[in-house]
Symmetry: D3
Subunit: 311 residues, 6 copies
Amino acid sequence: MKRIFVAEIVASTGSFIEQFQVGEVERRLKKDGQAYLSLTLKDRTGEIDGKLWDIPAGLTIAEGEFVKVEAETGTYRDEVQLNIRRIRQLGRDEVQLEDFLPVSKRDPNAMLSELRAALGTIGDGHPGLREALLRMVEELAPALMNTPAAKSNHHAYLGGLLEHVLSLIELAERVCTHYPELDRDLLVAAAVLHDIGKVTELCYETVLGYARRGTLVGHCVLGVEILSRYSGMLDQATREHLEHFIVSHHGQIDWGAVKLPMTREARVFHLLDMIDSQMAIMNTAFDHGTDGNGFTTFVPALRTALWTGHC
Amino acid sequence: MKRIFVAEIVASTGSFIEQFQVGEVERRLKKDGQAYLSLTLKDRTGEIDGKLWDIPAGLTIAEGEFVKVEAETGTYRDEVQLNIRRIRQLGRDEVQLEDFLPVSKRDPNAMLSELRAALGTIGDGHPGLREALLRMVEELAPALMNTPAAKSNHHAYLGGLLEHVLSLIELAERVCTHYPELDRDLLVAAAVLHDIGKVTELCYETVLGYARRGTLVGHCVLGVEILSRYSGMLDQATREHLEHFIVSHHGQIDWGAVKLPMTREARVFHLLDMIDSQMAIMNTAFDHGTDGNGFTTFVPALRTALWTGHC
Amino acid sequence: MKRIFVAEIVASTGSFIEQFQVGEVERRLKKDGQAYLSLTLKDRTGEIDGKLWDIPAGLTIAEGEFVKVEAETGTYRDEVQLNIRRIRQLGRDEVQLEDFLPVSKRDPNAMLSELRAALGTIGDGHPGLREALLRMVEELAPALMNTPAAKSNHHAYLGGLLEHVLSLIELAERVCTHYPELDRDLLVAAAVLHDIGKVTELCYETVLGYARRGTLVGHCVLGVEILSRYSGMLDQATREHLEHFIVSHHGQIDWGAVKLPMTREARVFHLLDMIDSQMAIMNTAFDHGTDGNGFTTFVPALRTALWTGHC
Amino acid sequence: MKRIFVAEIVASTGSFIEQFQVGEVERRLKKDGQAYLSLTLKDRTGEIDGKLWDIPAGLTIAEGEFVKVEAETGTYRDEVQLNIRRIRQLGRDEVQLEDFLPVSKRDPNAMLSELRAALGTIGDGHPGLREALLRMVEELAPALMNTPAAKSNHHAYLGGLLEHVLSLIELAERVCTHYPELDRDLLVAAAVLHDIGKVTELCYETVLGYARRGTLVGHCVLGVEILSRYSGMLDQATREHLEHFIVSHHGQIDWGAVKLPMTREARVFHLLDMIDSQMAIMNTAFDHGTDGNGFTTFVPALRTALWTGHC
Amino acid sequence: MKRIFVAEIVASTGSFIEQFQVGEVERRLKKDGQAYLSLTLKDRTGEIDGKLWDIPAGLTIAEGEFVKVEAETGTYRDEVQLNIRRIRQLGRDEVQLEDFLPVSKRDPNAMLSELRAALGTIGDGHPGLREALLRMVEELAPALMNTPAAKSNHHAYLGGLLEHVLSLIELAERVCTHYPELDRDLLVAAAVLHDIGKVTELCYETVLGYARRGTLVGHCVLGVEILSRYSGMLDQATREHLEHFIVSHHGQIDWGAVKLPMTREARVFHLLDMIDSQMAIMNTAFDHGTDGNGFTTFVPALRTALWTGHC
Amino acid sequence: MKRIFVAEIVASTGSFIEQFQVGEVERRLKKDGQAYLSLTLKDRTGEIDGKLWDIPAGLTIAEGEFVKVEAETGTYRDEVQLNIRRIRQLGRDEVQLEDFLPVSKRDPNAMLSELRAALGTIGDGHPGLREALLRMVEELAPALMNTPAAKSNHHAYLGGLLEHVLSLIELAERVCTHYPELDRDLLVAAAVLHDIGKVTELCYETVLGYARRGTLVGHCVLGVEILSRYSGMLDQATREHLEHFIVSHHGQIDWGAVKLPMTREARVFHLLDMIDSQMAIMNTAFDHGTDGNGFTTFVPALRTALWTGHC
């Protein structure tokens, strides 16, 4: 557990010992011709430059590794930097991942319990649906507790997928009470399944990124594959409807949908997913602050700046 | 009040006297060189061909007019048609518009009451908002009770706009309970205001269509104009937010938005509007029937066929 | 086995007994008020109108069914039609499907042998690849022998998929001799796998069309599913490469690709697939004839008319 | 009135006292741990870095403010910068705005007179049109004399809108003599009205930018609103035609038009507006110089580089 | 010279002898099994159906040929048609082309004189330009007098290109007086040259259409080729500017431009060409009539209906 | 012939004398107010900064010139730079262009011989085709030996066009053996002709770039012009086919095609051109290295990163 985070380090911080994750590493020459290392040191609050002026024999440090450093603050061209006196590589089990990666504010176990409870309310209209989803959640639980909903964009932190799924379930339940022609149990299932492929598409061992197979195949295909392990528990029409949710949830072909949504539930689910992801994007944008008129800077994902509604 | 509707006329119907609206009118020649009239006769259930073999001196009939005819059924090339013995033009006050135009299943007075009640729940967060909307509804009540939500597409019948607005208010209320950061009163206002320009954009005197100014200017600009009559009752930020709902509710520039939605409420409202209009489009499509696999024919507004979810 | 095909029927053909597939069926009224049936009768050479003037008690005939009719040729408004004296429904086993559906000119067994031989030449660079593909072909052989490559567009006839695959393998082999950096075995695998999902996407029992799951999920996802049955025989990188061929072979997102092609082989394969399918489309267009300057009519799939190159 | 402009300051300029507008302001630390201010100082000719090494107690300076500084030139990393000895904030009335914002080369009063004269030539074909436009110009005169035609892009300087309007009137008059079917008075009106909403859309108090309502609603809607104050003086068809000019003048929906232009005058006006704005963009681009072949650098607004026509 | 035109033929016209151009020709069977010909007969005012009940031995008639017929009017299903008693093919020199193809209202010789006069006003700023254009016009005169400006769309009649060119020259002269930075002589040259390739792209011997090379290469490339015969008379920069007009005059790549316009003159010319062609399209649309509100039907080339500006 | 290349220079290189091409040149001031020159020095391996602290009287150096410098290595802010003691301009004939511009690995004379041999195999199906192409290659030989296939993108080095053409000929020959309906001789001709306009579109005297006429007109039009010198040797249909290859080889209008490809050979050639250019782009991308998973960085020309196929 870290005590000093990057965001807190100032010129007057002085000497300390702390864990960091290594970003870029570059070997450079001092004026006397001796080599030194210029490193970026990171944790979940930001990054800072560091210099290791004397490189111990045999040291090799790569991007993504965790290290413990003994350092002192200094300034270079008006920026604070760290002069590193000692550095030691750490094993994956010597650090707590949530010190280094952004993480949901909600407790993953609590979220998992909430999900189980929600799935427990699924009725018998689609025989096997409740059991299939509960089994899937049980088997994927360790991954689900960590998977972010995206590498960047929205809910891009450990546990983000679970947060997004729970929010969608609540939202879907409210919307279903208004449109009785919607099948509530299918919408709950869609919430759990639509992004389930992200469990294998994304990697979040030491940094948020894409797994190789995720890059090559995408989370829609991976999601259908995960679902197929449980499809023997479902009747054929329900199975196809669930697959259709996964492949159509992006809503338009050029937004990445494999198929346009073709059922009431698939079309409404696409729009609910838009609502929940855009709410998250907007909250993040407003968190970064607004100008005197209440406007954020340009938000690329929405191709516009945003307004708080107050001046 | 009509007794015989087009959809009920068959070859064996025989002679009758009834009101119709005139569609296309064409003057043609019989083999003996004498002229006769070929007309399309319409009501809200469909249209049928008619022939007036002997044209009374001085008769001129134009598309859109209402007539009373004495006619007898016959067949021509396997189609039923009407041989018209007498025809008389009717004044606008001799017919009931709902015999000829499609009309909402809900009672317009009941819908108006429901709307007043909903607006009455608006709080004091935006001073004057409740009063401004109530006054607007009162002043537009006669038009609001008839305006369709569109010429075709969704809610394309007398009273359709009011139906769409009430549905959006209910939907918005449910969604707001899930996202406390949303301003519920603004979303209710958006529901009432977003399409209010259709009151003047569309005409629905004798057929559903576009008024000249509606064609030239569009309902977004017309809606802002209507709002401006009440904007003196509002503070400046609220007024601008309401105007922004109107000009941004289509969501994307190439879907007709004047501005991209820039607030939480404006973005969510656009998506709620999509949900409600697509639900209406889908219900209409499914009403037209499905094939053995549960698929409709291609639905142009959604660029896909639809599936019921059952085989 | 049919003896008389639609394309051969002329006004002077006279009386005959023959099998047809039923297209549209409509119940109409004669001038005397009695009902008769107006049917479209089809085989693989075209379609012709027929009238059943006296409907036997209890007869119900639906689109897609096979019938045996006793009929006589007549003309109606300058078109030849059939006056049907007797009609009897046929079981699926009383007809030969290739009388009614378009079919490849090549023998399916010969094509299958050729495919086995081609797969046999795959080397050991990707352990298990040769065996996996051979096993897949064996298990899918009955379907493969019939599957068309598309509902319309190119190779839209029974056996069309196999024809397209064999052509692509030959083409890939030639191109690989020019670019040694291409992995020939992977391109052969891509040819077999890229459209393998069409085995379940399309249905071709009585008419060419889409199966329900095919419509809802698409042949890319279905292809990955088929591949997954054999992926245990492959190393991980090879498996992912094969999956990537399937999901990327349309080349561009808005042409239906789930992912853009990211390897040399995937990019080249997409272009080879374009060559082979466009050659087939062009051959079909030229078969329909050209005008005096050597131009076809407009070909929608290519968004242009075509020129033979000769005047 | 400034005497020394940024563009004239060189390393050897030495000490001086002068007014500037403040750009970015940053508080930094000197090596001794004391704070200093790093500021950007601007006027209409450019911007220069300044350092205020000793910050007077209580000083707070924000972006956009005007200041008077006593400074001396120095260099830092090959760039000239100002070492500021004293700094004092100025009131809005102590500066001349045209020292800081780009401004038209033409005298605004002369332009306004020219506009009045042009409007005076409008005939009686559209009763009230001449009077309505003259009254509007009178009431908006103070704003009109300053409004730029855009924040950047073309005529982006104080008085730019008036310059653009006058140019369009002259251009329209010439084109009307060629096409007698065009209504000359309507085109003159279109020139005055099409961008009139920019009077409230843009702000240009201390910097060129967008007003909040301008950002949320856009100049088309704002223009129709301004026109509505005078529409009681016009017949209905003329009023709608003028509104149509405003909402259609961008010519294509994805270029920002609310409606496609639907009259001869609206279509021609859109193209005349394109000609005049592109001429201004091109003149600005050529003013920035060309390479040895007569080419400018890439001009983003036109998506191409430009050629003078001479080598 | 024809005396009776298609547009004048009514049921009571009776017997006559007249020239027509043959449209579609179809051989059909009478009820007695004998063949007859069903033909479409055309002239510049329209087309009418004809039946040749007795086909003379050895007669073969193809689409596009000219014929002289002896016929009598009759009616068939409420349409007037011609019963043809005798028919004889005509040579190309027995007819006057303007009886059959639409033709400009202006005299081609007068237009050519006007063009020569306009070119004569070109100054000496671009040595050789005046002489080159005059020589080109002289050498292409016979074709220029007939070439339409398009197959359909605008100025789609014999002499239409010349009409369009003359209008553009006048328009350009007016616009140049407003922008002194424009090179008037280059704009005049652009008017003559931009569509000059249509002289060979289009064919208009017996019908308006595209020549084979026109279809395969397009009028931009053909125009540059024609210009190249005279480019020896020009300096290099002028030659390249003229070529650039031809290849850039469509203004945008997806509107068919080979290059985006890169000079003041090329950009303005593109917009003038838009003005003149749209004015012609709009005039044609209004000639076809408007509804009670002054609206035309939808005009595909402009993707909108048009409004006259009057109710 | 250079001995020391930019890519080899390190801080410890010390003093040397060598040729470079001059990139950007800037005149700056030293702290003592004296001017010095800051230059970029380039060769085909990269570029390096240099400072000329004492500017000899009368020296003017422009971008693109070749110079010989006497210099010593130093460092500035961790970057190696050159302190220049003496500098002298070189004539175009004192340097070897291939020291400064990227150049094909293949010998241009050998490539030219290979091309002649390939053209010699063209048969007599298109009379004159073989002779026309051979004559064209002879007359353009000096240019052909140097022309790159592009300024950047693919084959962007001296001799690149010839390399691309030879590769396409070989590829076309292989593909033709698979599709007997393809005209092999036309495809060989297409390979030579499709980009022949680049001989004049590009300039590559001292840097790779676009010639003025190339920028204004484009290589498609220039290619048709070159072909026209030899078209008298060809029959009309062959000539038009060859022209069609040139104007259609980009395949889609918005990819720069003047016409969509309309023949079997033109469509296939477009796709072969895509294969060969994408293979070159991919080889270049992989040459720049891949990450631990075998992925390159994002390749703009292909809008994706690439994967080697190995982890």
